[in-house]
Subunit: 244 residues, 2 copies
DNA sequence: TAGTGGTCTAGACCACAAC
DNA sequence: TTGTGGTCTAGACCACTAA
């Protein structure tokens, strides 16, 4: 099931190299990186390629660039999961917060879509979908309860017993041969109902974050609709937004 | 107080032109844009410049690009405020949702910083800050209650009577000569206390979204700390995330 | 003034999808 | 096969900051 490894784009490799150096503190927080010309010479690539990598890292907030001065490691950003995929890969998100992640598959079944699901996925009412209910833990404590719904006709390869706990990105790739291009997220504050409170071991009346997401591929085909209940008293939700 | 207008970068102008054409439906939702070569010829710029503009628009989800095929207007994105600034400019955000925005300044005063504020702004405990409490309305209904706090020593120009209702971006620019480079946002679900419920005209026990933000300039200097209480039952919070 | 990042160009070649 | 976007290069010039 492993895909063939075609050579990665040079700019991505440069991004990885520089990101690794920052993570390994080879470039210390707050310090200045070598100039674009120096990096280009060292890595044997053009300055444009280095710039493309640095622009991406600046967009994620990992570095700050100052014209006439230099490129600096952003010391405020170290613990923020600013990577695109990382935000919706709950296991990595929890791990990133310094806790031990784990997950269980509560249920996996095919059923007719609800009205809201059919609407979100642009499929006809009550058409068949595969529904996965999953619970994610941080240090053994439940933090995220997610229900993901996929149109049944997208599934090319039946899910094996281990596939239910895969990140959705990988599940869509392996079982549907689909790649996520973008997602639209609606964020709401909710009071958990009794079923959710029980599963997430709530006792007080604390509110939770509820994220409703639709994932699309490059052809604007809705791939997956997901509702995540997010216990933000345990695991904070943090974003970085860059300007320009 | 108007700044001099230096010529805008060509790539930004191209971005604006193409974005306008999409907004004006000159390029219809779902339709294919002219090829990069054609746009470059038409606008008399290099293909690299066109690509820079299109890459930005694709990063915001406004268009979808398909190698070997073309660049398409994303029909799912029309109402999503994906622009970087737009997310935290509440007046524009409300306007974008199709309602009439308005705002009032509840209070404006200098006072010592709280412990949380001093920590967020990296200033010494109880140093003087300017605090603005603002309430934003959509069609006359209160939707966002925000308290913004600026270190007093950043303020070069005293705030006039009209400055209290400016977007923070403009306020920081005009009165502090500062530009926002990025912001770190923490999102939580909260039950509003009695004071907030009264100001936002709540009656039931519905939870709200609370956003805590710190805005930084390119020198990593904290400029402003803001706590926004967000009535998401009136005004939904929606984000777009692109991959790649 | 020297060195940095910011912008832009022209051109080459590749990967991919539609016809 | 053709045309599209994806990648990369080399080089020029500009804008800004620090010394």
């Amino acid at each position: 099931m492993m895909q063939v490894q075609r050579p990665k784009p040079i700019a991505n490799q440069v991004t990885e190299i520089l990101t690794d150096r920052i993570r390994m503190q080879q470039y210390e927080p707050g310090s200045r990186l070598p100039s674009e010309d120096d990096l280009a010479k060292e890595l044997r690539v053009s300055r444009a390629t280095v710039r493309s990598a640095l622009a991406r890292m600046a967009g994620e907030g990992l570095v700050v660039r100052r014209q006439g001065d230099g490129t600096y490691v952003n010391e405020n950003i170290v613990e923020v999961p600013t990577r695109m995929g990382g935000m919706w890969d709950f296991l990595r998100l929890i791990e990133h917060s310094g806790r031990t992640p784990s997950t269980t598959l509560l249920s996996k079944k095919k059923r007719p879509a609800s009205a809201a699901e059919a609407n979100a996925l642009s499929v006809s009412a009550a058409s068949i979908v595969l529904a996965l209910r999953r619970l994610f833990f941080a240090d053994g404590k439940p933090v995220i309860l997610a229900e993901s719904v996929i149109p049944a006709d997208l599934i090319l390869q039946p899910l094996g017993p281990e596939d239910g706990i895969l990140p959705i990105k990988d599940l869509l790739s392996q079982n549907c041969d689909q790649t996520i291009a973008y997602t639209i997220v609606d964020i709401h504050a909710e009071l958990p109902d009794e079923a959710i409170s029980r599963l997430m071991q709530f006792n007080g009346g604390a509110p939770i974050l509820r994220l409703q997401q639709v994932f699309f591929n490059r052809n604007n085909l809705p791939l997956l609709y997901s509702v995540s209940n997010y216990n933000d008293s345990v695991l904070g939700m943090r974003l970085v937004h860059t300007w320009g």
